[in-house]
Symmetry: C2
Subunit: 112 residues, 2 copies
DNA sequence: CAGAAATACCTTGACAGGCGAAGTATCACG
DNA sequence: CGTGATACTTCGCCTGTCAAGGTATTTCTG
């Protein structure tokens, strides 16, 4: 992976919720979508992904159900809740704010 | 603090290096500069700050020396090294890249 | 002068999130 | 039957943050 994970840390949940805003999905698919969107520059590690699912479910942001595929491996689908949507919007707003903050703080001193 | 630290995590070192690009400085002053720059929206916790100094010194990004104040509390000044400058430029570039990435990933699905 | 507050630094221990590694199970292909 | 892709899960380590506590000096205030 080309991007340090500490850069992404704290955005994992938001990234997952963003995917689920689109439609219900399952772990593997979400991860592939992320890889495609970033053209291979980023992927969630499986352990990270499933840890996040559990965290999000515990906080009521998503719910899950087993897919009824009668072929292939079983899939656990996730669905975003209204509460999850609210959290998503809040997190995006926080991102916008912290983006500005970081920008301010790491930019080279313009004066002098 | 209004901004979640996980959002800033991974940028602490860059923020400190950015301050030192300007001029040598010491812990307390750096932290006050950060608070001023962000108008109180963000501050580094002392433990975090001094942990970062040690990390940066160990990796050769900064060097330190005791100030020769003959009044007031002693100050340990930090100076950025050429290696630190290199690291700084690299980290800023990484930030630009990860900023784009995160933006792509957390933005609401535009299609559909 | 005593006490508080500001300046300035340092350490310890706990916690949370990311992730390497390993495991389970199914299906397709040759 | 072995390999690889799909798909999920758990365990334990590592790293960065930070609450809490400590030290020492100076200045301000009554």
């Amino acid at each position: 992976m080309s991007i340090a994970s500490d850069m992404i840390r704290g955005h994992t949940d938001t990234i997952i919720l963003a995917q689920l805003m689109h439609s219900d999905s399952y772990g593997y698919q979400i991860n592939r979508a992320i890889q495609e969107k970033t053209r291979g520059q980023y992927e969630l590690k499986e352990a990270t992904l499933y840890t996040a699912f559990r965290r999000l479910e515990q906080t009521g942001c998503i719910t899950s159900y087993w897919g009824d595929e009668n072929t292939g491996a079983r899939r656990r689908y996730y669905s975003i809740t209204p509460q999850g949507m609210e959290a998503y919007y809040r997190m995006v707003a926080e991102w916008e704010q912290s983006k500005q903050l970081i920008q301010t703080l790491i930019a080279p001193e313009s004066g002098t």
